[in-house]
Subunit: 257 residues, 4 copies
Amino acid sequence: MTDTQERNPGEPLRVGVLGARGRMGIEVCKAVDAADDLELVAAVDQGDDLSAVSGAGAQVVVDFTTPDVVMDNLRWCVEQGISAVVGTTGFTEQRLEQVRGWLAGKPDVSMVIAPNFGIGAVLMMQFAARAARYFESVEIIEQHHPRKLDAPSGTATHTARQIAQARAEAGLGPVPDATRDEVPGARGADIDGVRVHAVRATGLVAHQEVLFGTTGETLTIRHDSYDRVSFMPGVLLAVRAVRNHPGLTVGLDALLD
Amino acid sequence: MTDTQERNPGEPLRVGVLGARGRMGIEVCKAVDAADDLELVAAVDQGDDLSAVSGAGAQVVVDFTTPDVVMDNLRWCVEQGISAVVGTTGFTEQRLEQVRGWLAGKPDVSMVIAPNFGIGAVLMMQFAARAARYFESVEIIEQHHPRKLDAPSGTATHTARQIAQARAEAGLGPVPDATRDEVPGARGADIDGVRVHAVRATGLVAHQEVLFGTTGETLTIRHDSYDRVSFMPGVLLAVRAVRNHPGLTVGLDALLD
Amino acid sequence: MTDTQERNPGEPLRVGVLGARGRMGIEVCKAVDAADDLELVAAVDQGDDLSAVSGAGAQVVVDFTTPDVVMDNLRWCVEQGISAVVGTTGFTEQRLEQVRGWLAGKPDVSMVIAPNFGIGAVLMMQFAARAARYFESVEIIEQHHPRKLDAPSGTATHTARQIAQARAEAGLGPVPDATRDEVPGARGADIDGVRVHAVRATGLVAHQEVLFGTTGETLTIRHDSYDRVSFMPGVLLAVRAVRNHPGLTVGLDALLD
Amino acid sequence: MTDTQERNPGEPLRVGVLGARGRMGIEVCKAVDAADDLELVAAVDQGDDLSAVSGAGAQVVVDFTTPDVVMDNLRWCVEQGISAVVGTTGFTEQRLEQVRGWLAGKPDVSMVIAPNFGIGAVLMMQFAARAARYFESVEIIEQHHPRKLDAPSGTATHTARQIAQARAEAGLGPVPDATRDEVPGARGADIDGVRVHAVRATGLVAHQEVLFGTTGETLTIRHDSYDRVSFMPGVLLAVRAVRNHPGLTVGLDALLD
């Protein structure tokens, strides 16, 4: 089995998809299919036999299934010596520890588990955390369709916390703000000292802008996401990289260096 | 006197400035001086004699003085048959009525009194009021330097009210918003049903964005103001237009048709 | 027949769709269906009998068919006393004249023929033409997906021409530009004296920004279109308005007043 | 002398300014003066004696002078054991080598020479070079006042080259572009395969946007500079950091980690 699972230079990497008939799985199958250096060798879903994946000699599995079956899937991958890229939700620290345990004795198998495969969103957060220490002011404006239930978005809250931490590490104090006369809400939500504004409008999809300001200049980092296919470049990047990152990698960040 | 106050085609319009040593007056003098079709014939300030203005044959006066002297200035202009463009603050409805009364019997004298000579800001508000009836969603994001005391800005509040009125006239209901889980302030201030977000950051000057959304598309109108010289094109436009608009014109709107 | 074609207040307007199985027709059927004040009474396509439309008492027809059948469709509508909203392409001045002739003797039938039903795009062009006379500088930046064959887009070219005309009417000279040392293409395409820049990138859909500048301030009008459903609000607006605009109306402009 | 030049924790760093009456020097003096952790101990210009700087116990010198005197200034600094932050222009590779030579035997003296002290601009370029490898498409839009002689700007050209190099290293091919029918210039200037668009308009100051695109998403990095004071945070950052970076550091990049 080892032999067929080695990647010969020039030969496409053999990829199996679990959850292949879900809305993300369908997109993953299309994206793998369209990539010259990848070959879709198995696409299985609920009710199908996993042996189709090992039988086809898959070297990497992509799992977009559900929290109740994903742990079984990953244990099976480890047993079969197949690396995995996982977008399924519901990973607690306890679950991640369990996966780390399985991988400990298996140097040839590795896994990437990520809550967000949007390369643009991940880079936006990295750049924001990095710029944070050099600017006196910072605010976040996120914009979404009006069917969204939470405000601000999870990504905006996460970005604000990373910025707040970077500012604290750099010894920056509170952002300057002379507001004395405010109509309630005008200055946005306060997330660890960073003001976050949530815009909702028909026609919007998912957008976020981080605005940094210092004397005489501003720097803006903006991410626009139009479609769930926006996750595919990140999934393919992880598929190509997973076997070069031993053990368990959590988040796309570590693959973007 | 009438004769010298007529404008011959090809000859520059003769302009006098009252409040010529104030920060706005200084800019007005420079702007008039730099315009080929205008001639700065008198620049007076506190302590100077107004007869310098009439003596120089001024056809239009620009007044950026103070509320305590402006009414005397305007009555004098009416008596002298000189039209006026006024940026001085403090005009109540009562004061405007008084000016209308003075002008009633003087068909050859006219006046423009405006609280804001920024052409860009005025057009932004006009366009916003006009677009409002065609879009399901609308929000305002204004951005200013952090020394500003009020949030949102007066311009943003005014824009929101005009939009709310246009929506009501068009029979539009509330903007769609499914937010159930909000960190307080995230969704901005509610001005007559229009959400307004106020961003404050070092490096910013004065900016405003009005975002309209409907199925599959958004329309954004944005105004960026960098400097008090941004009022000059509006002042010059009023200087050139005032004598073609009989009586009293309040606001730059009526001159932008 | 007349009787059933009158709209009683409170009763939905009866709409028939021609070209109902084309990609635009499908969206029109959905949009009409979803509107409370409209009723989809007939949806026909190639091979279907038009009598289904008149038989169902349609008061307005929406035609997204093809240039080779649309003229027959419209003549039939006129004969039946049914008004029409037309998004089919290929209308020459000659064809428009022919339609005007048919409508001349029929005061109860009216038609709207428009090349672009995007309300946002139409308003952007209207606002741009209106702002053009007040700003010394103007440039257009349009942004599209990289599969687009022409650069700049038809909309950008059309906008540039309208701006150029408005500037000419206002007596404005050329925009200021001191460029002496240019890498070829940096300053964009010259359309009637207006510089137009065409950006192409994966991930983009269809976007356009018109930037106006004068001393100390800029005004930006931006339109973002994400989807062909963005035309539906404009189609429905025309459906609701067509019977109040006698004769032939060309373009959505005249309905947006 | 060594003793007085040591920085005691809690005591402000003693700073001398060369070229103190030039337009940049004036701003540097103000900025140093306003910073709690820095003390302006000497401000000299053409005709003044440098001994005022050493006599006042300056630990760091900021030099915004001219190419004809800067080398003498720096040699003197090295002799006196004073570190330097240099914004003066005209540094050739030969000059940099000479400075390196002077510093070689002086472990306690260090220098930062930078062509651009705008932190925002430097971060924009860093982020752009870093994002470049993950996106199929990229274009640059720079926007400046219309008195600018070159198009595109030096910063835009430099950014494009860094992006092109990062793409090459990541094995990316040409950006996708199906344009077949182009009005000359619409697609911008081609700088090493990266399209760059230069917008010129009254009211603008200095702005740059780098747009990255991949399937379903875009990432935009934008820098807006309004004023020459925008360089001051970068100058102060270098003043505080120079003594921790032995030898010669060229560019602000190395100080932003």
